[in-house]
């Protein structure tokens, strides 16, 4: 664990770096941001395809998969029919890849690395070499996760939560999963140190904490969540690795009989210990997924409604309280593990309390629209769609947070619909909005609006066709992670809805082709940007030339006002950027 404080190589003059130092092993936060973003987009696509395969087995259990069924090995899909082990592998890796390799690197690694230093007015991150190290520790983690599909017995197959004792006795892929996780956690830790120090130390003159754009606040709180919540999972991962490799039994109670044989292990462990340590991370982790999305959406909504953010101070206090509260709600994932009433009442109450800041933030975003003059570029469409979708995700958390309702809804498709509404039409839509919004600053060209709108409308419809039926499937009581729900009477009854979800998923998958085409096509022949500030925004990242050179700002900017000064009465234009002296 090397010490985290290398500094920028301080040769004053600017030397032309060789290609591999300029683009591969670069210490420039913008290059690292792009590396993270592109890798994360690829992993999102890969995780998405894993899910689309699962959806075939869910919709038409036991029938051979058309077209690509025969591509897979006999062990995984004999005659094109998916075996349960392979289904579990797809499920576990879909969750792991989407969360740890897709959304977090894109939201924190990609957008955070690229935009935060610009919004703070810094030439680069405080520790550029450390920033580069965090990407190059993240990539091996990702590759190990991909390679684990070829481990003997397949990839990890005990869910993205990998509860023990199931994960202790799983085949070799689980060990690869653990090693991959340790890489990813170390990468996030190094990254979060960089974010916090940059936000505190490198703010330009005049940029007090309460003049920071809301996106920077979101990344700042997210960095603290990453910094303090990830290590316990690293400890738990080390312990499970010891369990699997060195034969210890941290999480294995004594007297286990696995497939008929008494497991000869010292025993005395407690399976709940893994659950506690895992969820101690995983709940702050889901807030790591949503806070950057809130930051991106608030930037885009204020820019495109030409109006200041409603209640900036209340929003900042809400996001800080969200950060704190997210650490004391984790056991609402474990209501049904034989927990006593005192503990479950405590966690019920904190879960209700944590819903308040989220409601405040959402209402504030909606109120920011009132009285605005709203434009509808694609980035704004995605940001606007985020708000009601995140509202559905948040509201459906209420029945799951109350133990009495959780009695019926625990571990059913209702849970799957709840968190997917927060993550899929929530975070991923916000991240797509961010790509459309900042693409002109990164490449100097706008993404095509027609393709963008096409991508938006089809994705919006598709995503609701996928996840809305799941609420009803869950209400009927269908458990999650079932290879074939028609085994149960109540499952067969709602099989039609599951098939509908599957068709929605493939429809949604098709819609992403427009985004991929748009993403690569616009790089070379998108509409050229006429000014460094195409959206007429006020925050500092638009004060840099397009694309920002090494060192970002030709001369150090000074900040004179808050982040969202739009339509100031008596000002020359309808926006007054932070770094411009007079109104």
């Amino acid at each position: 664990m090397s010490v985290a404080h290398e500094t920028h190589d301080d040769h004053g003059h600017h030397v032309e770096l060789p290609f591999w130092r300029k683009y591969v092993f670069s210490t420039d936060h913008k290059v690292i941001g792009i590396q993270y973003a592109v890798t994360a987009l690829f992993f999102l696509l890969f995780g998405f395809t894993l899910m689309m395969m699962m959806r075939w087995q869910l919709a038409y259990p036991g029938q051979p998969m058309p077209l690509i069924g025969t591509f897979f090995s006999e062990a995984n899909m004999p005659g094109g029919i998916m075996v349960p082990e392979f289904y579990n592998q797809l499920g576990a890796m879909h969750g792991t890849i989407m969360v740890f390799l897709g959304v977090v690197p894109l939201a924190v690694g990609g957008f955070g690395n690229y935009v935060l230093p610009l919004q703070v007015g810094a030439p680069d991150m405080s520790f550029p070499k450390l920033n580069m190290a965090s990407y190059w520790v993240f990539l091996p983690g990702g590759l190990i996760m991909l390679a684990s599909f070829y481990a003997e017995g397949g990839a990890a197959q005990s869910g993205w939560t990998s509860y023990s004792p199931l994960s202790n006795t799983a085949p070799a892929g689980q060990t690869w999963w653990l090693i991959g996780m340790i890489f990813l956690i170390t990468s996030s830790l190094l990254g979060s140190v960089n974010f916090i120090v940059t936000t505190i130390q490198l703010r330009v003159e005049g940029l007090s904490f309460f003049r920071l754009p809301f996106f920077t606040w979101a990344q700042f709180v997210t960095a603290f969540l990453l910094l303090l919540a990830f290590p316990p999972l690293e400890a738990a991962g080390v312990m499970q690795l010891m369990d699997r490799v060195a034969g210890s039994s941290f999480f294995l109670p004594s007297g286990l009989v696995i497939s008929g044989q008494l497991l000869d292990v010292a025993g005395g462990g407690n399976p709940l210990l893994w659950q506690h340590l895992f969820w101690f991370l995983a709940h702050p982790e889901v807030y790591v997924l949503i806070l950057p999305a809130l930051g991106i959406v608030s930037e885009i909504i204020t820019v495109n409604s030409r109006r200041p953010l409603w209640g900036y101070r209340t929003l900042v206090y809400s996001i800080i309280s969200l950060g704190f509260l997210s650490f004391i709600v984790w056991a609402h994932h474990m209501f049904m593990t034989g927990m006593g009433t005192a503990m479950s009442n405590f966690f019920q109450t904190t879960t209700m309390i944590i819903s308040i800041p989220s409601v405040i933030i959402l209402t504030a975003l909606a109120l920011s629209l009132n009285g605005g003059s709203i434009r509808f570029p694609t980035s704004m469409l995605f940001a606007l769609a985020f708000i009601p979708m995140f509202a559905i995700g948040g509201l459906t958390g209420l029945p799951l947070g109350l133990t009495a309702a959780d009695l019926h809804l625990h571990d059913t498709y209702y849970v799957i619909a709840h968190f997917h509404y927060v993550v899929a039409p929530g975070t991923v839509f916000a991240l797509l909005a961010g790509v459309y919004h900042w693409y002109p600053k990164v490449t100097g060209r706008k993404m095509n609006e027609a393709l963008g709108k096409l991508h938006f409308w089809i994705s919006l419809i598709g995503i609701n066709v996928v996840f809305m039926p799941m609420f009803f499937v869950g209400m009927a009581g269908v458990s999650r992670r079932l290879y074939d729900q028609t085994q149960y009477a109540y499952g067969a009854q709602v099989q039609g809805l599951t098939a509908m979800s599957s068709w929605g998923a493939w429809f949604l998958g098709a819609a992403q082709i427009f985004f991929i085409i748009n993403f690569f096509w616009s790089r070379k022949n998108g509409e050229k940007v006429e000014s460094d500030n195409p959206w007429n925004a006020t925050t500092l990242e638009w004060a840099t030339p397009t694309p920002p050179p090494h060192g970002n700002f030709p001369e150090v900017p000074k900040v004179y006002r808050g982040p969202y000064e739009y339509s100031v009465p008596g000002a020359k234009s309808d926006f007054s950027p932070q770094h411009v002296e007079e109104g």
Binding site: M1, S2, V3, A4, H5, T7, H8, D10, G12, H14, A122, P123, D124, S126, F127, P128, L130, L189, S192, V193, N194, I196, V197, I200, Q201, L202, L227, L228, A229, F230, P231, P232, E234, A235, A236, V238, M239, M242, A246, G247, S248, S249, F250, V265, A266, G268, G269, N270, L273, L277, F280, H550, G551, N552, F553, P554, E555, V556
Partner: protein
Amino acid sequence: MDEIPYTVKPHPLSGLYSGKLGIWLFLASEVMLFGALFSSYILLRVGSDSWPVGSELLNIPLAMLNTFILIISSVTVVLGWASLKLGEHGKAKMYLWVTVLLAFGFLIVKGFEYGAKFSHHISPATNNFYATYFTMTGLHGLHIVGGIAVFVYLLTSGSKLLEENPEHYTNRIECAGLYWHFVDLVWIFLFPALYLL
């Protein structure tokens, strides 16, 4: 504007150069890492009905020697940093090399301890006490190795920075020193928890 501010000079408001704030944040995450391990140790110990007494199974004199080694190495780091501040570069390097040697000493003593255990076929699989013992002291040992690597780098190829920009080099030593004191701090809690109680 190419140079990153506040890498060497402290920030007017926070009064810190970036490295110090960075190392303290890193130590905060380390507090959580070892906190999780201690919390698991307490849970496993309270939860189990037969937990052996540490002092009978483990070698107390060796562990005490290790504690002395780490405390002394903590002092030599701080003295090294102080003499750097005074500009006595030669004395500083001597102190820091002593720290590295003491750290190696710690690992060697740790090696004897582990060697004795393995020769008696005791391993993490024996029971949860040994599992916790090996995991916690093992992870702590890895942190010692990390510390040695940093100090050796600073004393060899990194030391040319001492001539170029002494204050920058002193800051780096201070950060490495903070990390080293934290590793000693963890051992101060690890020693009674595993060996004595």
